[in-house]
């Protein structure tokens, strides 16, 4: 198959179903909002919805990166541990007092977090591409490494931001609002917009999807497969770093259990959002919607009075499957 043929085939296919597929997660989200309003009238209040959107920020931002990795046919299980690791190092840096000015401390810490995130991602990428190890195993390994290093850094306890000046200056990054909308929501939108631009409008983005749909074809078409793949992990690392930067001011501390199981939540958000786990299709806005869905399901369960606390996990699982089924049936009808 030549590149042009692939491109036209793709264009034709996308015109037929892209609309419904892209819309499906949002339909599921709308249904959940209706369900939530029945469960508890407070659910639909602006305060509650803003709370839920704000705290979905970590998973949403991480999942934007995961969309790249998964679209290119990879998988990253290390993101939860990476959050704990990057956030811990960043807090330790801010505690070290290397820079006396609090504003500059935060700026330097942000730069450092992004550098560490990118480096962690690069490590994942190089192990899978240069080392030729299955991404599942490679990132399972780094997952243990990042988690273990965090536990070691904290000696099993907590790493807490000590400097009160830095704390009060940094706090608004999670708790602050602009025009009544919490700051993390802007970060979600900006990250997703950049992600969508790169994935849909740049050559690199098209290469990611091509590598994910058929590695051999991509290779023969002259796409540098390894480099494209490695870069997806770096993007994932950058997204993790951004998530860390808004995570740190929330509790001002990390512990050995920070970000536990977040990798599964991020992957679920990506798949609920309409990205295929086998690669070749990436939907950034669907992913963000998927992250909202996950957080809203938990929120509805807690606000409703008729679900036993022992059954929460079961009902959450069922709702996610139903949401997926709704999506699939919509797509089939078209």
């Amino acid at each position: 198959m030549t590149e042009t043929a692939a491109a036209t085939a793709k264009a034709r296919r996308s015109w037929k179903d892209v609309d419904l597929r892209a819309v499906a997660p949002f339909v599921a989200l709308a249904l959940l909002l209706v369900l939530g309003a029945f469960a508890n009238p407070n659910f639909i209040s602006v305060d509650n919805l803003l709370n839920v959107l704000t705290r979905s920020a970590f998973i949403a931002i991480i999942a934007v990166g995961a969309t790249f990795v998964i679209s290119a046919g990879g998988l990253d299980l290390s993101v939860g541990s990476m959050v704990a690791f990057v956030a811990s190092l960043t807090i330790l840096f801010m505690n070290s007092g290397a820079i006396s000015d609090p504003t500059m401390t935060i700026v330097a810490a942000a730069v450092l977090a992004i550098a560490i995130g990118a480096a962690c991602g690069l490590a994942n990428g190089l192990i899978t591409t240069v080392g030729r190890i299955e991404p599942f195993i490679a990132t399972l390994g780094t997952m243990g490494i990042y988690r273990g290093l965090t536990t070691w850094l904290s000696q099993g306890g907590a790493i807490t931001l000590r400097n009160p000046e830095v704390q009060s200056l940094y706090r608004p990054i999670y708790f602050g609002e602009i025009f009544g909308v919490p700051f993390p929501i802007y970060v979600i939108v900006i990250t997703a917009a950049i992600g969508a631009f790169v994935l849909y409008r740049t050559r690199y983005g098209r290469h990611v999807v091509a590598v994910g749909s058929n590695e051999d074809v991509a290779h023969y078409s002259g796409i540098p497969v390894s480099r494209v793949r490695t870069l997806t992990y770096v993007i994932q690392g950058l997204c993790v770093a951004v998530a860390c930067l808004i995570y740190i001011p929330r509790l001002g501390s990390t512990s050995a259990t920070t970000g536990l199981m977040w990798e599964l939540q991020a992957i679920t958000a990506v798949v609920v959002g309409g990205t295929a786990l086998r690669g070749g299709v990436g939907r950034i806005w669907g992913t963000v919607c998927g992250a909202f869905i996950l957080e809203i399901v938990g929120n509805i369960m807690l606000l409703s009075n008729f679900v036993s606390e022992y059954l929460l996990g079961a009902i959450q699982g069922a709702i996610i499957i139903i949401a997926m089924l709704v999506q699939r049936s919509l797509v089939r009808k078209s």
Binding site: N40, N42, F43, S45, D47, N48, N51, R55, T151, S154, Q155, G156, G157, A158, T160, F175, R250, L251, S253, S255, A256, T257, T258, L260, G298, N299, L302, L303, E309, Y310, L312
Partner: protein, 315 residues
């Protein structure tokens, strides 16, 4: 027959070693889980702290502390300790039932065994000589009683840990503590002993209930998330939060007279030190210590807080 032979051999060995070591050196082996969260980090800190103290106080005493990440490697660690020639074993098992056999093996050789915190299903003197533990039902009961006394008509939300027996014991204890008062429990949800999850649960409680008087979250880690959620919502109806365990951050708040954390309920990781001291007393001073030693779930107030404050501990 073979069993008896091994038994005889073991008795002979113990007797020989006893003769050899009676005058010069005694060794206590301490096996604890690796620090994987706040409380176990505290266990490691206190085990090492008390080990150092004991060796300073008793020049003839050697204390070896070993940490293990899971039950299988802890079973190996117990064997390793035994081959090094210990006179007593102090063990806080990461999971007691899978470790019973390893512990029994040491016990059958006539060594003194002290079991800490987590009891196997059959917790009798065939497994251990001494059992030291915190009091989970009392942890709930003390919190419940405090709330019932201080705010007799409080509407309380509860954040639970994980669905395991310890958590249930604490809940039952709490219900006993508030029995007969007008304290009303609005809701109970799991926060998995995790700060971030507790933050979420608390945010949702604040949305769900327009008026909450008291939060009982039975764990100092979760209290961190609860306090942030309350602060963010700028809600003033919540009078105070009752946590538990005795982490340095929460005890500091109690000491400083923080209105939101007026008290804490003790479930101290330092209990491993209690077991070590008692074991040393049995070995060196030959005082009888066998039996159950259940620590009170002490109510930590500003008056007694400094007794439980360890600023150097990671927890």
């Amino acid at each position: 027959m073979r069993k008896r032979l091994i038994g005889v051999a073991a008795v002979a060995m113990v007797a020989l070693m006893g003769v050899a070591q009676a005058q010069d050196k005694k060794t206590i082996g301490v096996s604890i889980p690796a620090a994987d969260h706040g409380w176990t980090a505290g266990v490691v800190f206190h085990a090492e702290r008390v080990a150092k103290k004991l060796m300073e106080e008793h020049p003839g005493l050697n204390v070896i502390v070993k940490t293990s990440p899971d039950p299988a490697s802890q079973a190996n660690a117990v064997q390793d300790l035994e081959t090094q020639g210990i006179d007593a074993l102090v063990i806080l098992p990461s999971d007691p039932d899978p470790l019973v056999n390893a512990i029994k093996e040491v016990k059958d050789k006539g060594k003194f065994v002290a079991l800490v915190d987590r009891a196997p299903s059959s917790n009798d003197n065939s497994v251990r000589d001494l059992y030291v533990a915190g009091n989970n039902p009392a942890l709930g009961e003390v919190a419940g009683k405090y709330i019932a006394e201080k705010t007799p008509e409080a509407e309380v939300v509860i954040i639970r840990g994980l669905p395991i027996p310890i958590d249930q014991q604490r809940q039952d204890g709490f219900d006993k503590g508030i029995a007969g008062s007008k304290v009303k429990v609005l809701d109970r949800q799991f926060g998995n002993w995790n700060r971030d999850d507790a933050f979420k649960v608390m945010q949702d409680y604040l949305t769900k209930y327009p008026k909450i008087d008291v939060v009982w979250c039975q764990d100092d880690d979760m209290a961190v998330g609860v306090l942030q959620a309350i602060e963010q919502a700028k809600r003033t109806d919540i009078q105070y939060v009752v946590a538990g365990a005795g982490s340095k951050d929460m005890i500091k708040k109690v000491m400083d007279g923080d209105k939101m954390i007026p008290v804490d309920v003790l479930y101290p990781p330092a209990m491993v030190g209690t077991a070590m001291e008692l074991t040393a007393a049995a070995l060196i001073d030959q005082v009888p210590v066998s039996g159950n030693y259940i620590l009170d779930a002490t109510l930590i107030t500003p008056e007694n807080a400094k007794n439980f404050y360890f600023p150097d501990s990671p927890f």
